[in-house]
Structures are given as C-alpha cells and as structure tokens.
Symmetry: C2
Subunit: 407 residues, 2 copies
Amino acid sequence: MNFKIENKIKNSLGRAGMISTSHGDILTPAFVTVGTKATVKSLSPEQVREAGAQVVLANTYHLYLEPGEKIIKESGGLHKFMNWQGPTMTDSGGFQAFSLGVAYGNKLSKFIAAESPEPEEIDEAYAEEKDKKAKITEDGVEFKSIIDGSTHFFTPEKSIQIQNDIGADIIFAFDECTSPHASKEYLKEASARTHRWAERSLIENSKLKIKNSKQNALFGIVQGGRYEDLRVESAKVIGEMDLASRGGGFQGFGVGGSFVKEDMATAVKWVNEILPEGKPRHLLGVGEPIDLILGVENGCDTFDCVAPTRMARNGTLYTKHGKINIMNAKYKNIFEPIDEGCECYACKNYTTAYLSHLFRAKEMFASTLASIHNLYFLNNLMSQIRESILNNTFPDFKNNFLENYKS
Amino acid sequence: MNFKIENKIKNSLGRAGMISTSHGDILTPAFVTVGTKATVKSLSPEQVREAGAQVVLANTYHLYLEPGEKIIKESGGLHKFMNWQGPTMTDSGGFQAFSLGVAYGNKLSKFIAAESPEPEEIDEAYAEEKDKKAKITEDGVEFKSIIDGSTHFFTPEKSIQIQNDIGADIIFAFDECTSPHASKEYLKEASARTHRWAERSLIENSKLKIKNSKQNALFGIVQGGRYEDLRVESAKVIGEMDLASRGGGFQGFGVGGSFVKEDMATAVKWVNEILPEGKPRHLLGVGEPIDLILGVENGCDTFDCVAPTRMARNGTLYTKHGKINIMNAKYKNIFEPIDEGCECYACKNYTTAYLSHLFRAKEMFASTLASIHNLYFLNNLMSQIRESILNNTFPDFKNNFLENYKS
C-alpha cells in the first residue's frame, strides 16, 4: 500500500490524495461502503461500483461467525468470494466488544454507527447497561455468538489471523471501542490496553505477512474518548509505534470511538495534529454529510458507516436540501427524480412516484434504488470535496453545501 | 403487433416464431418474466434483461390497488414507470376472481401459480372453501382489497380501461379463472360468461384504441377446465370471435385455468388444435421446466409464472439435474457454481458456498442471485427449445433434457 498527498486545504489539516493497493487506487477523501457480511445489502458489486464506491469494508466479527473465515480463504479470499475486484478493508472486531458489551440489549446498540444520537439518548441508554454479551480482559474479548449463543474468544492475534484469512487489502489492529460516556479512568485503562493490543496486532501481522508473502496494510487505531490528553497520548503511541525488526509500524491509522456529534471534529483534530502526516487516516463509523465535511477538514482521508444503506432501507434519502422520508404521502405523485440534478442510476431512471410505490409495496427493489442513491450521494459529495481541495476552493464548497443542506 | 411462424415441430402443434411489438421482438417460444407490481422482485430491469428476459408481465389487479393505474399513466405508462424498455404484458385481473374467491384463505391460494399441486392437495384445499373475498356476477367481479379491505368492482370494460391506462403492449380479455375441481355444470356456465366478457373486452378495447390511437394487442382467453367438449367449444368461440366492425378479433390467445399437472398438456392440445394457427398463444401461470416443454410441444408460444422467482427467494434453484435447495448443509463449502456450465451472472461470478452464505445470513442479494439464476435457466431452456425447433431436433432435445432433469 502506498499513500500520496496531492494537495492540502490552507490553514487546516485536510488534504486530497491517493491510496494505492494491489486491487486498485482510492482517490481521497473517500467514503468506504460497508458490506458487513461480504455483501453490500441489496446491491450487486456492479451496482456498488456504479454508485461511485471505490472501496468496500467487511466485518471480521460477522464473517468469523458466518460463514467462517476458512470458507472465505478457501474461496480465494474476500475479493473472489464476494466478486468485488476493488480495494477492500476489514475492521478488527473491536467494535463488537462495544456493541455487544456495554451497548448490547440497550438503546445504544440500536443507533451505534447509524446517526449520531443526542447526548440524553446516550445517557439513558448507557444507564440501561445490562445483559452484556462480551467480557474484556487483558488477553482479549470473550463474547457470545449472536447466531447460536456459543462462546468465542478474540485476541489481537486471533483478530489478525482471521483478517489475514479473509484477505482484505487494509486491515485494522484489534482495539477496544469505548462508549462516549465512559469515565476518564476507564478510558485511560482501555486506551492503554488498546496500545498493548496494537503492538500485539503489529507483531502478529508482520509474522503472517512474512509467512504468507502477503501485501496487506495494517492500520493502528487511536482511542481516548473525549479527553484531549488521552487522545494526544494515544495518537503519539500509535503514531510512533514502529517495530523496525518486524517490518515497520502501521501503514495508516484509524480514529476510533463512538462520538457524540459535537465532540467529533475536535477529537479528530487533536489526533490528526499528532499522527504522521504521510500516512492515511480512517475515521471509523462516521457517515453523515456534515460530519464527513468536518472530518476531511480536520485531516481524515477515509470514512465508513452503515448509515447511508441502513437509512435507505428505511426510506430515508439524501437530497441537496437535506434528508427526506419517501413514505410521506406527498411523494406518491411526484414525477421527478428524488434529487433534482443527481446523476445516480435511481435518479436518472426512476421517478419519486415509482420509489414511493416500491416502498409502499415493500418491494426489495426499493432498498436497491434507495441504497444506490444514498451511496452515490456520499460518494459524489466526497468527490466534490476532493475536487474543491485540488482547486483550493474547499471553504467555498463547504459554505455552499452547508447553506443548502438542512440536517 | 405481428406474429410470424418460423418453423414447426413435425407431427405436433409446436412452433418457433417471432412476436413483434412496438417495444421490440419476442423470439418464441418464450418465458415471460412476472413483475407483479411493476418490478421483478429483487431485480433491476438490467438484471432481468441480462437473465435473458424478453418480456415482462405485470398484474392489473395489484397495480390498480397500488399505486393506482392513473399514477402509471401519468408517469408515461408501464415501460417508463418501471424502466423496462422491452415488450410488456398485463393480465386482466380475472385470475384474482379465483385466487381471492374460491381459493382465498385456503391452501389452494398458497400454491396457485407456483408449483403444480397434487390432486389430493387440491381436494383438501377446495373442501376448505370459505371466507370468499370476491363475488362473481354477470356484470363482473366484486372483490375486497387485500390492502385495506375496501370494496371494488371489476367489469370487462373496467379491466380493459385499467390495462389501457397501464399501457402494456399485450393485454388480456377479462375472464373467470376456474378451479381445476369445479363441477362441469359450473365450468360450462363460467365458460359461457367468459365468452360474453371476451366480447365486451374486445368492444371496449377497440373503442379505446380508436380514441387514444393506441397500438396494444388484446388476447382472448380460452377456459373450459378439464373437459374436452368445453375446451373445444371455448377455443372455437374465442378463436372465431371477430368483431369486424370494431377492428377485428383477438390478436392472440391465452389458455387459462388452474391445471392439475397431468391434465395440462392434454387440455392445451385440445385448445390449440382449434385456435387459428397464425396467432400467438400464451399459456397462463405455467413455468415448470417439464410443463414448458410439453406446453411448447402442444402449440403454446409464451408462458408466464411466478414460480422461478418465488422459489428462488426460498432458496430452491434449478439445475440441469433437477431442483436443489441451497439451505442443505452440503452446499456450505462447494466452491463451484450452482449449475456447472450455466452462463448466468450468478454462476459465472459466485460459488455455491457464497450463495449458501447469503441465504443463511438472510441477505437480500441472495434473492437477487437466485432469481437471476432461475430466470436464466428458464429463458435459456426456451432458447434451446427454439433452437431445436429451428434445427428440427426438438424430439432429441426433449428426450435429452428429460433424461437428465429429475423433477
């Protein structure tokens, strides 16, 4: 993997660049389409590509449980298995330590990685903490399968082994994703553990790369919650972690943590001011248009989120003026596309009335068209941000977008 | 619409030909893909086309209820509404007089138009007759909406008006589809009523064609159940119905009725020996591979059925050796395509293991791939039958297929 910065936003951390992998290039900033179980829900790989996607991220935890990483390895790896020939990523499974741990069974688990919840909602959900399905120790995370209740144990080594079997181009170190409302004391402890896990991940991946002559790139994950000193400390440790004898440090970074909306840009800025400039930075689980713009401005290059496809399946669609819900009766006889001027397959070929009909009739093709539209919207947004950075017009683009878009 | 016979099977009623419509040609024999609510479930029009489909049939009853035929008309008609540029058909709504009448709420309604039921199953289901939602009178059919319970009344004129608003290339006369186990007395009465409705359909369509300068083709439907004399009579009446003053008779024919497997080929033969040879014949609701072969051999040109896509969504897939169910554990680690040598998108790009994974994970893309495969299987079968008729090798093809295919 290689990363090249092409231009920077003046007086900010933002940049446009290119990540090169053995399965092709990713022009950055870029949105990463989530294909949790080695499929982007309701879409063919061709439709994913046509919606402007450059790179797909699959989930290690889910693929480990079903169909099992060995099936994917025997199929020739993730690309062949799911018929996606472009660049791929896998997360580490660390997120599940959170979503199946403190967040499991309470409201928090329902909006994690979707839209940013309101602080009160988090308070309430966090208070309901109960019925944990994951247990965190120094060695790793014990969790119960959401499929059959069986017990499993992930360590950093195990996560890296599974990710190597799955075979994505970019993989992540095993981390602990903490709640936005965890105490500082806990965050400090978790962050230090994540650093030890990062080192173990790095060592394991170096071993496997040598053993299998693999070319994957390992990204280290920065944690630290909403505390500047913890974020700075984490960025320093992860950014400087360099096991020269094992083939060098991380080839890129992930910025982790479940953010409360207002904290995101600030936390990202703390981190990206420290991380080495020459390596790509991925912001985990962020996908709202405004958050993407702020994330780029504060130095992130790639972003993944299930929100655009999940919202699409619920009939919530992006437009340049904000989100709409297609189930509103007024859309039944609008014979124009969802978003005037949008160049996506759905908007070029179908009316709002048709989409409204498909959603009311609960037809699967409703999800397909809506997912194509929402993915295209974000991919196109990223492409326009990139263009504006290359042309030195990012501030104008940002102001213009925010003036029109009501979130 | 125009129909040309290109070659015939020696000593049988079968033939290969071409139906030309203003939206393109249909090479026959052909399978017609069902897109009930102006969408082929889980597929884009491009995927439908790539699976080899030439023509799509939508359902008048369903579109009348949702979104309403006026929405489709205002959208510019069915082709524009659903983005299918090829030939289209609509049925007349008569089938619902059956499925929502005698068959509603009992077992019969569950396997109608799917796979051919066993005779005992029909006996049992028919005996359960209850809770009718449709009422048949001389003027038409009163039925309750399956969506909101509201009462509606279809007459032949109303069916033709709705079909004209929807705007398919080929439409059907309003008929009463009878149960395979109705008494001869009832069948005779229903058949005579269907003939009177056919004439009213013809008159109404002629009026609307003149009024709107439309080019649709109206097919008349032959009924008569399992009785030779009734079938012969119906074929004569419908085949000869020619309202010269109103622009001529039917441009093609539908063979209707819910068949018990063993009766189908015989009943079709009775009818097609009588119907004028120069016009196309559509066999309604038949789609099992063996039934298609027998249907063609006995003189039918086109066929429609929801079975291939419905079965696909349940994980039942055609192969040259018969049907398989993908949920069988043995398919979890088979790294070959579903059907060796199949040229469909699913078989060319994905393994059986991947399809097995998608079905187990309940991913929507499972339905998409399985539907593509099953539709391709039937479209390819029809294309091979056609080839064999043109080459005068139909008997060999038939024997060869039946030797391999275990139903």
